[in-house]
C-alpha cells in the first residue's frame, strides 16, 4: 500500500514537473556560443597595380591540413566576396604544441596569375592576416612585363618554324625572358596526350626580381618554401634568394599546355646588380644559380637543375631547356628544414588594452633588400611566431599602417627559435583609445555576442581601395587607437559570405556600444536582406 502510494506520488510529481518545464522555458532558447572557431586567417586580396578588389575569384584550400579548413561560419565550400575571406580551423584540430597546421589557399580568376598562399598556424596564433596581391595580366605593375601573342600551328598542331617569344625590356624591367620552341614540337596535356589546334597562345610574365614591390607577387607571396622537392629528391624547406623569375604559359584552344615531346629553351637574363648570397659579390660569368620550377596546381617548388651564368649580348643570362611549363626561377637557397621559428614579443605598454594593426617588415641584415612584409594586430605583450625566415641574420622594422617606424632590430639567428623582445615606441600622433562594442539581438534568443570577426575602416566617403584593417572584434569588442574622436568613418566587416558595410559612422565618444536587431538596419544593405542575414546567422547560435 505504502509503496503504491509512493509510486503514485512520484509519478504525479514527475507529470507536474514535466508540465512545469514547458512553463519554465517560456521565452527561453538554448544559446550556443558563437566562438566555435578559435583559429582564423583573414585573406585580404587586392589587385597588385590598382589596389582594387578583384572580382570573380575562385578559392580552395589545398595541402596537408586542408581537410580541417572551413570558412569562418563553418562552411566547407569556400567563396570570396569583396576580396575578403576569413578561414577558420575545425576546433577539433586546433594546433597543439609543436605541431602547427599547414595548408595553402589557392586563388584563381580569369585574367589573373594564380596565387597559392601558404599558411602556417602555430598554437595560440589565433588570428593572422594575409595581404595578397594578385597580378592582373592585362594590367601589370611597372615592375612586371607581360607578353601575350599567338602563333599559327601547322596542320599537325606543331609549329612549322621555330617560335621565339621575348618579354619586352622596359626601364623598370630591363632584363628579358626569351622562350624558343623548336619546329615540330608537339604540345601535350598533363597526361601526355597531344593537344590539337591551329593557334598557339603564348604568355610570358617577367618579374623584376630585384624590385621588392614584387615580393608579394613571387609564387606563394614569400621566399620561404616548405615541402620542396630538393636537389637530391628529398623533401626539404628552403629560403630562396632570387635572381630571376618568370611564368610561361601556352594554351591551344583554351587548353593549357603542360609538356612537350622535345625540350624547349628558356633564357632568363639576370640583373647585374644581383649579389651572390654566399660572397655578396655582384653576379659574374661562371656563377652557379639553381633552376627551380613551381607548380600552380600544388603550390610546390621543385629543383630542376643547376644553371651557369654566361654573357650574351652584354647581358648575364642563364639558359636551359625543359620539357614542361610553369613558373621558373633562378635561385640561391638555404635549407631551413630543421629551423625553429622565433617568437617576437611586442612590448607596447602605450597601447594599454587597445590593439593596432602594424606592418612588420623583414629585411636582409644590411637593410638593402626587403624580404617579407606581414600585417600583425599588435597588443601589448603579444607573442607572434615569425615563420618564413631564412637561416641567416635579418633585420626587422615595425611600422604603423601609415608608414611611421615604431621599432627596429636584428634577428641574429632566425633558425634557432626562442623569444625576442620588440620594444614598440608610441607613434607621434597622440593615442586615443576607442572601444567599439557590438552585440546582436537574435529573434527569440535575446542579445548574443557575435562570433569574432575582422573589421575594416576608412575615412567616410574615401575610395573603397583605402579600406584598412582596424582589428579583430573579439567577443563583440574591439579596442583600437586608430580612430579619432569627432571623425566619421565607413566600416566594413566580412562574415562567411556576407559583407556588411556601415557608412558615415561618427565616433563621438570613447566607448561606443551598438546592438543590432531585426529592426535595426544600420548599414547599406536593404532592411529585408539585413533581416534575412540576421535570422540565418542567429539560427546557428
Amino acid at each position: 500500500m505504502r509503496t503504491k502510494l509512493y509510486v503514485l506520488s512520484v509519478t504525479v510529481l514527475m507529470v507536474l514537473l514535466s508540465l512545469s518545464c514547458n512553463k519554465a522555458k517560456e521565452n527561453i532558447d538554448i544559446l550556443i556560443n558563437a566562438d566555435i572557431i578559435h583559429y582564423s586567417v583573414l585573406f585580404d586580396v587586392r589587385e597588385a597595380t590598382t589596389g582594387n578588389v578583384p572580382e570573380g575569384l575562385s578559392v580552395s584550400a589545398i595541402g596537408q591540413d586542408a581537410g580541417v579548413v572551413y570558412d569562418i561560419s563553418g562552411n566547407k565550400n569556400l567563396s570570396m566576396d569583396g576580396g575578403l575571406l576569413t578561414l577558420g580551423i575545425d576546433p577539433h584540430y586546433d594546433p597543439q604544441g609543436g605541431n602547427p597546421l599547414k595548408f595553402s589557399l589557392k586563388i584563381t580568376g580569369e585574367g589573373y596569375a594564380t596565387m597559392i598562399v601558404p599558411v602556417t598556424i602555430n598554437e595560440e596564433q589565433f588570428h593572422q592576416v594575409k595581404n595578397v596581391k594578385l597580378l592582373k595580366l592585362s594590367n601589370p605593375p611597372a615592375s612586371v612585363t607581360v607578353v601575350n601573342t599567338n602563333e599559327a600551328l601547322a596542320t599537325n598542331s606543331t609549329p612549322a618554324q621555330p617560335i621565339v617569344v621575348s618579354s619586352p625590356a622596359t626601364t623598370d624591367v630591363p632584363e628579358i625572358v626569351t622562350v624558343t620552341v623548336p619546329a615540330g614540337t608537339k604540345f601535350l596535356d598533363n597526361s601526355g596526350t597531344q593537344i590539337n589546334g591551329n593557334l598557339l597562345n603564348l604568355s610570358v610574365v617577367n618579374y623584376n626580381a630585384q624590385n621588392s614591390d614584387n615580393n608579394d607577387l613571387f609564387p606563394g607571396g614569400t621566399f620561404a618554401a616548405e615541402d620542396v622537392n630538393g636537389p637530391n629528391g628529398q623533401t626539404i624547406s628552403t629560403y630562396f634568394t632570387t635572381a630571376a623569375v618568370a611564368k610561361v604559359t601556352f594554351t591551344i584552344n583554351g587548353q593549357e599546355v603542360k609538356k612537350f615531346d622535345q625540350p624547349i629553351s628558356l633564357l632568363l637574363e639576370v640583373n647585374p646588380s644581383y649579389k651572390m648570397a654566399g660572397t655578396n659579390d655582384a653576379v659574374k660569368v661562371g656563377d652557379k644559380l639553381s633552376i627551380w620550377s613551381y607548380s600552380e596546381d600544388t603550390g610546390k617548388w621543385s629543383y630542376e637543375k643547376e644553371g651557369t651564368v654566361t654573357l650574351v649580348n652584354g647581358k648575364f643570362v642563364v639558359e636551359f631547356t625543359t620539357n614542361h611549363l610553369t613558373y621558373y626561377s633562378l635561385n640561391e637557397y638555404v635549407e631551413t628544414t630543421s629551423c625553429s621559428s622565433p617568437n617576437l614579443v611586442f612590448n607596447a605598454s602605450w597601447l594599454n588594452v587597445n590593439t593596432q594593426p602594424m606592418v612588420l617588415q623583414i629585411w636582409n641584415s644590411d637593410g638593402s633588400k626587403l624580404l617579407e612584409t606581414n600585417t600583425v594586430i599588435v597588443s601589448n605583450g603579444l607573442e607572434y611566431a615569425l615563420n618564413n625566415l631564412p637561416s641567416y641574420a635579418v633585420s626587422y622594422k615595425v611600422l604603423t599602417t601609415s608608414g611611421e617606424q615604431l621599432a627596429v632590430g636584428t634577428i641574429a639567428n632566425p633558425c634557432s627559435g626562442g623569444r625576442l623582445n620588440v620594444q614598440v615606441a608610441a607613434p607621434a600622433v597622440p593615442v586615443v583609445g576607442v572601444t567599439l562594442s557590438l552585440t546582436v539581438k537574435c529573434p527569440n534568443k535575446g542579445i548574443v555576442t557575435p562570433p569574432d570577426f575582422y573589421l575594416y575602416y576608412k575615412t567616410a566617403g574615401a575610395a573603397d581601395a583605402t579600406y584598412k584593417l582596424l582589428g579583430v572584434v573579439k567577443k563583440g569588442k574591439l579596442t583600437t587607437t586608430l580612430l579619432q574622436l569627432g571623425q566619421r568613418y565607413d566600416f566594413k566587416a566580412q562574415w562567411g559570405d556576407h559583407v556588411k558595410i556601415i557608412k558615415n559612422y561618427l565616433i563621438d565618444k570613447n566607448n561606443l556600444s551598438t546592438t543590432v536587431g531585426l529592426d535595426d538596419h544600420i548599414g547599406d544593405i536593404s532592411p529585408e536582406k539585413n533581416r534575412a542575414i540576421l535570422i540565418e546567422e542567429c539560427s546557428k547560435i
Partner: protein
Amino acid sequence: MKTMTKFIPLCIGVCITMLAKANIRPNASHPSKAQAIIDPSDVTGLRPATLGLSLGFQGIGIESYAFLGSRWQLHAGASYLPFQGSKNYLAFPSRAVSMNLNANIAQAHLLLDFDLFPNAYAETVQNIALSAGISYFVSAKGTAKMKLKDPYYYGDIQLSPDEVGELTAESNWKGFAPYVGLALNNLRISNRVGLNIGVGTFYLASPSVKLNGTNYLADNYQNQQQLKHNLDKYYRWMPSFQVTFNYSLINNIF
C-alpha cells in the same frame, strides 16, 4: 546533507513536544470523535493524540496531531523527498535537449485544521476540515542538467552534445511558505491506526535561480533572468497531496 542531519531530529523533537502538550477535550456531542489524552486509562469520549508516517508529493515524513478543543486540531510534521528523473526530449525553439532532474525537498509545517461540518450526518463528512498554516522549506531545490539531444552543426562542423557542453539550472524555493487545503482526518483502519488525507497547496518563496553552462553553452547565463521570471510567475504554487497513517497513543475508541 548536513542540513538534513539537523532537520530530521528537529522535526521529531517538535512532534514529541506537541504530543506531550496535547490537550484533551470531552466530546459529548460526537462520542465517535476521539480526543487527545493525558491519562491513557481515561479515554472515553476523547480524540487521541497521534503520531504517524506521511507519504505525498513532498515525500515521506512524520506527522503528529493534537486536538485543541472544539473544532480545532493542530498538526505538525515534516517531510523529505529526494527525487531523480530524466527527460530525453525537451524542445526549445531552436533545438532539443535531454535533461536529468534532481530535486530535493525538505520541509516542516505547522497547520491548524478546522472541522467544517461537525454536525453532519455522515461520519466521513464530519471529518472534513479546512487546513491552513505555515511551512518552512529547508530545501526546495531543483537541479536540471541539460545537454543537447542531437549533435550541433556549426556550418559543416559537427560537435557532439558532450563537446557543446552542459547547462545546469539550479533553483531553490527555500524559505517560509503558507499552506491552505482540505483534510479528511481520522479515517479508521483499526483501533489504533487511522488515516488522514490532505490536499492543498503551498505558496512558495520567490526562488533563487542560477544558470551555468560549460563549453559552448556558457552564454546561457543571459537566460537566468527570464528563467527566474518564469519560475516566479508559474512556479510558486506547489500542490500537495499527502496521506498519513496515524498511530494512536492509546487503544482508541473513536
